[in-house]
Symmetry: C2
Subunit: 500 residues, 2 copies
């Protein structure tokens, strides 16, 4: 398939006259790619938003079964993109092909899971179907018949993430959830994988044609400038925003949203250090094995998962665990990160930690190329960690902050000092869990997901998943961006009332 570098506005591939160009980047070669991508204009964005608003009137009236057919078709068309998709994304991200295959499968499964859930709706969207029967004889006032169900909120803006070029990008979880709910999507493509985004857009373009959906139901905007992103979230017809990315960018977008006349929900999934709480008995009995699992999880995708276990709280005397972690991470080999920005940010962060008082660097992996990121294992004591908020910040990439605690009281203080997190794991024996019940109770209030004796990476797509957590890990603790409940972000209740 030829790559045009165009944006996709309500069924049309568009390049503005004299548009600025930008280019993707090869992390492997550490140099820009050669396919030009054309910067979308504000006018094009407005066209996309208007088309989506018009499409909403038609799309909101489709039945759950019709939307299911649409989502199945999108999944099939992703599959039909075949090897070209994997090759292009590999070039743009340098993520291993086997990982990309897996993520592509997950992305299709996600669409199909939403489709299935829509097919199972007896009573419309997500089966919100609460009724109260009338009682015309009630005194002093007759009781009416009332029925509660859902409506889609309207046009949704979606921002792709760099670290999941399929599952959290163009046709990823946010887009799937919005389309399932009955909301058109205007998608701001991530500049780290613009060609992947174009291919994915071809897939949905075919699915729209095949299932007769209104053309404005999906648009994809290619733009490197920040202006377009802010215009998108400020546009009046936008009724919700799905975002996966950094705290800094999210904060700027929220400032723009705060200037809107109409407040809209901003669902930002921002990141997390995903504390790994290691209890005494576990460390004593299975320290070596646990260290291996933790290191494997940290190195997965070279640490570029939002659920990467970046903070370990371990007993001071957990020598076996600590030694094995040093061993594992020292032997690990460096790899690329997703973009030059992420590399710069990683190197800056580890430099800061190297120079932080009371922090020691216990191990680092082999740096095979200067533009790679290698694993870092930092270590500090509980008091130093609690006093220096800088040590709490997520380092996006393969870096671990190991905090040693001396006793249960200190561990409780550490947990109390934590910011909001997407997840935390507790590693312990049943005995550990009983002894530390109060600490675990408190830890729940810091996280969106609490995991017993498992790694946080690998977020299951299912009805009972929750991917979201207290601020600053996400901007709306009441919502999840993974799992079937992700649809709820784009639905709202309506009550229908009559006398009987």
């Amino acid at each position: 398939m030829q790559i045009s570098g165009a944006s996709y506005i309500a069924g049309q591939w568009c390049i503005a006259e004299g548009a600025d160009k930008f280019f993707g980047f090869s992390p492997k070669l550490n140099q820009p790619l050669t396919t030009p991508i054309f910067e979308a204009t504000e006018q094009m964005l407005q066209q996309a938003v208007s088309a989506a608003e018009q499409a909403f009137v038609v799309y909101r009236q489709t039945s759950p079964a019709e939307r299911a057919t649409f989502l199945y078709a999108i999944a099939d068309e992703i599959e039909a993109l075949g090897e070209q998709l994997l090759e292009v994304t590999h070039q743009e991200t340098n993520l291993p092909l086997v990982r990309l295959q897996g993520e592509r499968g997950r992305t299709m499964n996600q669409l199909r899971a939403f489709a299935q859930s829509l097919e199972q709706c007896k009573n419309g969207l997500l089966d919100l179907d609460i009724k109260d029967q009338a009682d015309p004889n009630r005194t002093p006032l007759a009781k009416p018949y009332t029925h509660l169900s859902y409506l889609p909120v309207g046009v949704v803006a979606v921002f792709g993430a760099s670290n999941f070029p399929y599952a959290f990008s163009t046709l990823g979880g946010d887009t799937a959830a919005a389309l399932a709910a009955g909301c058109p999507v205007v998608m701001k493509s991530h500049t780290a994988h613009p060609v992947t985004s174009e291919l994915m857009t071809h897939a949905i373009d075919k699915a729209i044609a095949k299932t007769g959906m209104p053309k404005g139901v999906f648009s994809m905007i290619q733009a490197k400038g920040y202006g377009i992103a802010h215009q998108l979230v400020a546009a009046q017809p936008i009724k919700a925003v799905g975002f996966t990315g950094s705290f800094g960018v999210a904060q700027k977008l929220m400032e723009t949203i705060a200037t809107r006349k109409e407040a809209i929900p901003f669902y930002g999934e921002l990141g997390s250090t995903n504390p790994q709480v290691v209890f005494a008995q576990k460390a004593a009995e299975q320290g070596k094995q646990l260290a291996q699992s933790l290191c494997q999880s940290v190195l997965m995708g070279n640490g570029q998962f939002c659920t990467s276990p970046g903070l370990w709280l371990v007993p001071s005397d957990a020598e076996e665990l600590i030694e094995e972690a040093i061993e594992q991470l020292s032997q690990s080999k460096s790899d690329t990160l997703l973009s030059p920005n992420i590399v710069r940010s990683f190197k800056r962060s580890v430099e800061l930690l190297k120079n932080a008082q009371g922090v020691s660097l216990l191990a680092q992996g082999v740096l095979e190329q200067t533009f790679h990121a290698n694993a870092h294992l930092f270590c500090t004591d509980a008091n130093t960690y609690m006093e220096n908020k800088q040590l709490h910040e997520e380092v996006f990439g393969p870096s671990v902050m190991m905090v040693k605690y001396d006793n249960a009281q200190q561990l409780k203080q550490l947990v109390d000092s934590l910011e909001g997190q997407l997840s935390a794991s507790i590693h312990g024996s049943n005995n550990d869990f009983v002894t530390n019940a109060q600490l675990i109770e408190a830890l729940q209030y810091k996280v969106g997901r609490i995991i017993e004796n498992q790694m946080p990476t690998g977020v299951e797509v299912c009805a009972s998943m929750n991917h979201g957590g207290p601020f600053p890990s996400s901007t709306d603790v009441r919502s999840t961006s993974v799992g079937l409940n992700a649809m709820l972000r784009f639905l709202r209740p309506i009550c229908r009332q009559r006398a009987e």
Copy 2:
């Protein structure tokens, strides 16, 4: 019971040294009341918030059954306040005693309904209890066991409303929902009924003692200055705000919230004109009867309900309906409004409408006292209404804007021009509903509740109610402030994961 004029901070009645005083107001006598109320200080507010934060650690661990017992006890203690409560509130609001009796009953029922719902929880809060079973043999990755349930969000700030001194105030719907969810409440009392608020606080004080709840679970702040309100929503431990009041105040509070580091949900229920769409056949066949019902609904509480039907869309030739409305409202007698501010605002609004181009005043009720508000029936044509956004604004009090439409197309344009509303009623025959199906489909997206052939006033407290709507009628269309789902505003999901 002696009235102290104090604020109630975590079990203590507090008056700051040298505190400023303010006074309630008698709408009936049009003069201030004589009981001094003492302005709370910022320090007192901080004490209340800190105490609530500490109480949260205990209160969140109470079982649903324990919280049910607490809510039942609050309802019982409200009942035990007896006649003094009704007399005081009548003095502060001049709402008729029979109305206040009804509202007191509703307020107790609300608490008991939440309590009942908690008792029926088999699996914890609101029965969110979604599980996915493990599949350890799945390839390439084992599937974990995951379980989704709710946690309370933390300390909730509640602002009382003037127009429902019981049901939407100190121990009203927001407080009941937050306490049911497991969240402590810091309550900013409404200055229009401070003594009512003090009595209600005595009720919850007794219930706290009786059921052994932590003292910080509820505090009540008396303050006339706006500063305290802003300090309250800015305080770090506050995790959600329940507000019922005007658009202007809500906007200011949201500006303060936008300056917080951590974004928190602001649940503002702001008001609405509650369009009454009258279809042709209904107007022709039952115009007179419908006019009577509409006028009765408008005059209820002298128009001071957020669901008061302030906008009527009627066929141009609906002569019988129009004549009857003129007749009814001309004969109606004026009454007080809740506060001098509301009177001023009402008089200013009707003056503006009297002078608005293309708007005629068809009827006004008898003005018995200059400080009263009398009914006003304004009339305009569809084009004038659509062109002048000022005519769309809610007039809080007994005022109606009747807009005449010539045909179905014009009615559709009118519906499309509407802002978000709490509710709308459609008055028609079955035939009307079939003919106007597309219009009704569109109207749904403007409202939180759509009502067939009934008045919008009288919001049923039940599981299938929705009281909330698209902006600007409320600030979070995904939530309701009436009905059992009101609890959802103060809960958030958590996933618990383990291997099996």
